[in-house]
Symmetry: C2
Subunit: 138 residues, 2 copies
């Protein structure tokens, strides 16, 4: 569903993940590669294409002249918010048939599965707040 919503705005799942990751970070290319699980050269091209569309920009690092920081533009932030909101509405609609009590149960069980799955891989989802955001690539 996220991919379909992104497609409505003419961009891909990985571009959506890029925008999502940048909503609360200003990472370097290397950090982005780790966050997205990609090679740094892949990220370089990804950022090129997003920059060409005016969604992100490269900011030279003040402390290390080899390095750049990648940040959302206003257009990029607006697009990320719109796609995220629509995706959230999709999920809400999908859960509509359940009673409120069943939705609460489902949320509790799934959260536990996901948190423990992440913990088994050394990621503390409760600490980062990643569990509260949709489409952030985490």
């Amino acid at each position: 569903m996220l991919e379909r919503r992104a497609g409505e705005h003419g961009f891909s799942l990985i571009q959506t993940r890029l925008l999502g990751v940048l909503r609360d970070r200003r990472p370097t290319i290397n950090e982005l590669a780790t966050l997205l699980g990609l090679n740094k050269s892949s990220v370089s091209g990804l950022v090129d294409r997003a920059e060409r569309r005016g969604l992100v920009r490269r900011i030279p690092s003040a402390v290390d002249r080899r390095s750049v920081q990648v940040a959302l533009t206003e257009d990029g932030r607006a697009l990320a918010s719109k796609v995220s909101a629509r995706f959230g509405a999709d999920v809400a609609a999908m859960l509509g048939p359940l009673t409120a009590a069943d939705r609460a149960t489902l949320t509790r069980l799934l959260s536990r599965v996901l948190v423990e799955h992440a913990a088994a891989r050394g990621v503390d989802m409760l600490a980062t707040g990643a569990n509260a955001r949709a489409g952030d690539g985490g």
Copy 2:
């Protein structure tokens, strides 16, 4: 997780979906395009690459000489089974932390959400048996 398991055997998610779809069907290129949600020219290339690896073969249709049927080879079937089994084990391990009762509850609630979501799009999951198979592209 499915993509990661597929990657262990050197192939992609879409190739895995192709093999999964072919486990109980022998569709034409056009039918595959509908099943996978792709353009027929994309499917033509997809089948080319799978055929080059010996995983599928093209069988000329007996009734329409324009048409071909795509079928798994023995190698393709073995690979599909192996990836499917590993993915099933991944899911089982992920649900391990839950009690048996919680697993049953989660299964019941998720099944209902998915079945109704499919029904809203005109797909009867209970009739096709698609709900009983992992990695079949449905």
